[in-house]
């Protein structure tokens, strides 16, 4: 006699809503104006992880809408040009969505290389937009100071892929 197996449904609440709220909370916490041992906290772009992981986990109509809202939140919270991060994050989402078949089955370095390329491209677009709007290019060192913490977040994206990819039994 087979033992009953508990059916675990991984819905949008688990892989979209909760991570989005966590990204918002992390952004707010890391924006605290406090110095720890003389150093300020880093300021990574947390939703970049979601923009990379969500299209790989599963195509969805909810995910890009939430990602758009996260981008607007970043712009409003950081006082940036409205639409800047929304555009950059959506660009990453579209690229990964279109490259989904190429990325299927890859792990490790290949996947991280894609994440790094998408992150660099998003920051390049943001850099160009800000430089054109302000008539003044931002400092490269400051740019690197935000890119590196964002790249370090890749293990979170990897964990999300391992945790949620094909995790919903209704899609098997």
């Amino acid at each position: 006699m087979r033992r009953p197996v508990a059916v675990r449904v991984v819905g949008p609440l688990q892989w979209i809503v909760y991570p989005a709220l966590a990204a918002i909370a992390a952004t707010i916490i890391f924006a605290t104006p406090v110095q720890l041992f003389g150093l300020m906290l880093p300021e990574p772009v947390f939703p970049m992880v979601l923009a990379f992981a969500w299209p790989l986990i599963r195509p969805s109509m909810t995910a890009p809408a939430v990602l758009f809202g996260l981008g607007l939140f970043l712009d409003l919270f950081w006082n940036g040009p409205l639409g800047l991060w929304a555009l950059c994050l959506m660009g990453v989402y579209v690229v990964i969505l279109l490259s989904r078949n190429l990325l299927a089955g890859h792990e490790g370095v290949i996947r991280f290389a894609w994440y790094m390329a998408c992150t660099l491209a998003a920051f390049l677009v943001a850099y160009v937009i800000v430089a054109v709007r302000a008539g003044n290019p931002p400092a490269i060192l400051a740019l690197i100071g935000q890119i590196l913490p964002t790249l370090i977040l890749y293990p979170i994206a990897d964990w999300m892929l391992e945790r949620f990819d094909d995790g919903d039994i209704r899609f098997r």
Partner: protein, 400 residues
Amino acid sequence: MTAGAPADSNPLCGRSPVAFRDGPFENLKVPLAWTAAVVAVVAMAGAALLLVSDRTTPDGGSSYGAARGAAASVTGPVSGVFAAPVRWVGAVTDYIGGYFFAVSENRRLRAEVAELEPWRDQAIALKNVNARYEAMLGLRTEPAVPMVTARAISDARGPFNRAKLVDVGASKGVRIGNPVINEHGLIGRVTGVTGGVSRMVLLTDVASRTPVLVDRTDARALLTGDGSDNPRLEFVRGAGSVQAGDRILSSGDGGGLPRGIPIGVAAKGIDGSWRVKLFSDRGAIDYVRVLLFQDFGQLIDPNALNAPPLAGLTTAPPPNAEQAGAIGDAAARRQAAAEAQAARARAAAAVAATPPATTPAAPQARPVQTRPAQPRPAAEAPSAATSPQPTPAQAPEGVT
């Protein structure tokens, strides 16, 4: 099942979408990736539209100021709650650092106090002399600017944005454009205000432009932020007007900032450009002061400008008996002096009209003196030959 079938005939769902699925689009299957791509493309278009339409208003705000204000109103208190544990950790690190570095800091502070004491004495003396000069020259000095103390509750430190949220707003009199300082120097300016929260853009923001001057040479320049910790000095006027170590102050040009607020020290950057090491970076920017300084317009009383001319003459109170007596006395003295002057002029004219025979060349009659008497020292005795009649100011007591 048709669209007109009873809704509860379907055990799975009794609402209209099921009927729709069973309609003419029953066999239409759209890949999920396509729908996601459509949503993403629409969102990208919306983001681009927002980006194009977001403009900076002339007063330094944003065309989406209402949305930004609403976001600041919501995230401000939330930031205070979420950041509390981080603040506690920061306080613990400060405590540990203070414990281990107390001796060295005490030595440094003693040396600093010893160095600053002569400066304090000089500052007091110079302040006294400066106040006397201002009084003697009748200089119109700038009035004291009221300030509001605030706490920074959120911080954007990225390359594209350098801004802070502070926990004071329009309810405390804060307005867009107000400068913000800390105990070391200028930090930035307010660009958005809500009832209880304000947003300020730092000097290091990529969109920040601040007119400054070099304290040593009084040369003007523009402080341009680029997202790094040390903003650039651009458009420096005059060759060799900046040296490493020069103090940079706000120039007040344009009226947006008061003149003379300390900003930093000039230094050469690794890219060869002049940069400024900000004084405000000497400590954590947690507690700040918002100067309620809008522009030079606040120094002018609009009621005084709009008052009718010479309005003060019609509102002077009538003199009392003592003042009326003094006024009459002074008027009588002036009249007597004028009559004596006229009589002397007539006598001089008569003498000039009848020249003596022994005088070959009569001196030309001098015109009536109309110049006011020059002020003389009080100790100097009046000469009988040149000024036989005392002026009202010099007339002895009892002369009428």
